[in-house]
Symmetry: C2
């Protein structure tokens, strides 16, 4: 029997899941809508979890007799590891404290752990990805928001209440750009997908450089579109990534003073810009770095496919708990 962990990634639109073995191979990867109706009414959170687990049971059966479920892990925005609940989630249709881990555990009959998506990504990188074998690293997720998962001594940092690792919300510019969190100058306002777009807007205003992006509206200006322009050699698009990288790199130099990691791993939509982002980020980090850290910390791009990492990360959470338990017994 091959042991597998169920990895669940709860998103605002879709929920993805799959069964992951100890080597990171995924069986039965499925995506279902997060929001559905039950009769006339939208489903309750309990109904949603029941539907999700029924389907996951079915998928497990469809995969054949060879798989033994050892646990489940859930990655969800604003998921709290300690409470096993999703708290303050802004992009889910349900309000209040959503006890996702307990409900999944009931339905699936296995121990279930939950954390936020950035922490899950870090766990995925450690068990199956770029951070394999590392004990001290930070994953920065650069997507719709900017998140982080911090690993110290081989353990994810949760803090005393489960909310550690909100590095998207360090203030990088006093009185700077408005952030979704209601404050000003957060890293997220500069280095998320929306942040890169806002930087393009700044550049369109400040510079007279010709650019294909002058024909793109604010709403159409995705980070993918900007990356495409950069690939085509558009100087303004390239400058937008350089500016993003400069701000990110300086922030990374500050993060390094905290935990002195071996590497910082960039992940998410904005990181798809690859070397356009990674190289100037590393340069800016080195330039701002305190002497004792210089030339020691790698800036790496995640090598996990973005579609998979959420499932791998969530499953890694279950694997980590399972191994911890096995070690305790031994």
């Amino acid at each position: 029997m091959e042991k597998v962990a169920l990895g669940i990634d709860i998103g605002g639109t879709n929920t993805k899941y799959g069964f992951v073995d100890a080597q990171g191979k995924i069986y039965g990867e499925i995506s279902i809508p997060t929001i559905m109706k039950a009769g006339e009414e939208p489903e309750s959170f309990e109904q949603y979890i029941a539907r999700l687990c029924a389907q996951a049971q079915q998928t497990l059966q469809d995969c054949g007799q060879g798989l033994q479920l050892i646990g489940a892990g859930i990655g969800a925005p604003d998921g709290n590891f300690f409470s096993g609940a999703i708290e303050f989630a802004v992009n889910l249709p349900w309000k209040g404290v959503l006890r996702a881990a307990a409900l999944v555990s009931q339905h699936m009959g296995v121990p279930t752990a939950l954390t936020n998506d950035a922490n899950a990504a870090a766990m995925g990188e450690m068990l199956f990805g770029t951070a394999k074998g590392m004990k001290d690293f930070i994953v920065i997720t650069l997507g719709t928001g900017v998140g982080s998962g911090i690993v110290i001594g081989g353990k994810l940092v949760y803090g005393h209440d489960g909310f550690a690792g909100e590095l998207g919300h360090v203030i990088v510019k006093e009185g700077g750009r408005m952030c979704g969190c209601g404050r000003r100058g957060c890293l997220e306002a500069y280095c998320s997908a929306g942040g890169v777009r806002r930087t393009v807007m700044d550049l369109l205003a400040e510079e007279t450089t010709p650019s294909v992006l002058r024909d793109v509206s604010f709403e159409q200006m995705t980070s993918a579109r900007i990356y495409e322009a950069a690939m085509e050699g558009d100087p303004l698009a390239r400058e937008a990534f350089r500016r993003t990288a400069r701000i990110l790199g300086r922030a990374l130099a500050d993060f390094v003073t905290f935990s002195s990691p071996e590497a910082i791993i960039l992940f998410g939509g904005v990181a798809r810009a690859g070397e356009f982002l990674r190289k100037p980020t590393e340069e800016a980090m080195e330039e701002s770095m305190l002497h004792c850290f210089k030339n020691k910390v790698k800036v790496l791009l995640s090598d996990l496919g973005e579609g998979n990492v959420a499932i791998l990360g969530a499953a890694a959470l279950a694997w980590d708990a399972y191994r911890g338990q096995s070690e305790e017994k031994a």
Copy 2:
């Protein structure tokens, strides 16, 4: 037999040591000069350690037959836990890598651990001080420099190379004040004793407020003198602490996003300003804080006497190692 650990605090001018029992009681506290001559020449580092240990052996004998030495701990500027050596120390007369832990261990015949003074202070707070019983907290030392010791899950954070916790060198103001580290805008340039003095200089330049500090030269302007003036009601001195607190509080809000600690403990010369510093620091932190951390993180003043904490912290390092070992055996 009472078990004790030898705690050694190596400073640029004096070296203090004492024997500390499991409850934090200190026996035979002694201060000796760090720098002495051996004949015509200044002592080598090896000679210094030999002299220190011979004297410590004598002190232990003088304390009577009741004490059993279980280990030694050393707190030293730029001390590295992993290598057991003092590296890049700017305020000691010896150059190169100083293998303090190995030498002390040889002379004293017990396991010896070493770390920097801020980490030692954090360990002291956890075992004997304000952080007793806490598992997630940060100690900020506000003295000649600004240092930090970060505890996560009951363990000091050393990072992958032993240099974690250099929070005095996060950049709080881009292109700001020159810092001793050669860069600009570090927290240390604002919140160390020298930083408070520089803030007084700023205020003397900017404001016309009368102040007793207008009669004090730059060289005479210690943080103790500024505190004295604040106590006497001097508005400019009080404003200097408020400004210091504002910058510190904002930085603390960023630190919280990293490890979500239960408390932040202020320690060192500048923290002697007490509520003049603590209260506006807490206010500025709360004001800058991300919603999910608001009203959760305490800002506390260390309750360990400053004279003792270095010895207690160094000894705590030895106690922590000793207990770790005992647990492993058990």
